[in-house]
Amino acid sequence: MLKKLLPHPHLTLLLTVVWLLLANAYTLNSLVFGLLMGLVIPWITAPYWPDRPRVRNFPMIVEYVLIVLWDILKSNITVARIVLFVPNAKLEPAWVTVPLDLHEPEAITALAGTITMTPGTLTAELAADGHSLLVHCLHAPDPDGVRDEIKERYERRLKEIFE
């Protein structure tokens, strides 16, 4: 019964919070309306995710988000330094293939987005069979190191979250 009423409790919570933030008014009014949307939208869209992945490890999400935010900060400074101080002739752009251990489409999407937002790397393409990502590096004297860092830093944690 509860499962039928609340097919996706996390989405309900997220939608309510997002609605409150969007309305920018923390009143009972917006809370009720937000909850209403949080209940109706998951209920309507439930048939579109026949097998969505289960999140197995919530504390890991917090750790992951903090690490990614920190890396975004570092990445901005790194890229700014490359843009300003590395002459184009010395730039070493490189393509890197990252083989994937993740299988859930949601997890791969999260990894691809993270790679784009973090130091000097950008996800360009997914393999047709979905088992590797093509990553472009802005300045990578050591492409293998980039690949190992992506696998160790992000993919391992996403694997713990989703699988």
Binding site: N76, L91, A127, D129
Partner: protein, 158 residues
């Protein structure tokens, strides 16, 4: 105390402006489309982020109300920036690169842009089109038969 907040907000705005400028400068300076993609997707994130944090601090310190709108803007930027970058990269791969110049993916197959058959939406569109054509032909045949039938019966009557 007021001075401290003012300095903090001013610093955040200057940081934001600086990174926005670097991001735009990168677009001009970097040599090719793939490297140019790096500048706006990253430098701009911190630029926008710093301005938004400045705005939150300003409203909290001087207007006395909590404004968390800005978190939503950040969230939407983090959701859309990688997707935009991915689509531009995909288009660029298709226009200016050949699979031979890229490292191959692990295992069988090739990258998705170079594998049209993997795009099932095109196949589905083709199937729908074929089904439409089939239906149209059958309808035309039926109409022709019906027309032949009526002229035939008219001829009999005559």
């Amino acid at each position: 105390m007021e001075l401290f907040w003012e300095i903090l907000i001013a610093a955040l705005l200057v940081i934001g402006g600086f990174f926005g400028l670097v991001g735009s400068f990168g677009l001009v300076k970097l040599p090719d489309p793939m490297t140019r993609l790096h500048a706006p997707t990253k430098a701009a994130t911190l630029g926008v982020g710093a301005v938004l944090i400045g705005s939150m601090v300003y409203f909290a310190a001087f207007k006395g109300d909590l404004s968390l709108h800005e978190l939503m803007i950040t969230l939407f930027i983090f959701l859309t920036a990688p997707i935009t970058a991915h689509f531009i990269a995909k288009a660029n791969l298709l226009r200016d690169w050949r699979p031979e110049r890229l490292p191959p993916p692990e295992g069988e197959g090739d990258w998705a842009v170079y594998t049209p058959a993997a795009d099932t939406s095109a196949l589905e569109l083709q199937e729908v089109e074929d089904a439409d054509k089939e239906a149209a032909r059958e309808a035309a045949q039926a109409a022709a038969q019906a027309a032949a039938g009526t002229t035939g019966s008219e001829a009999e009557r005559g």
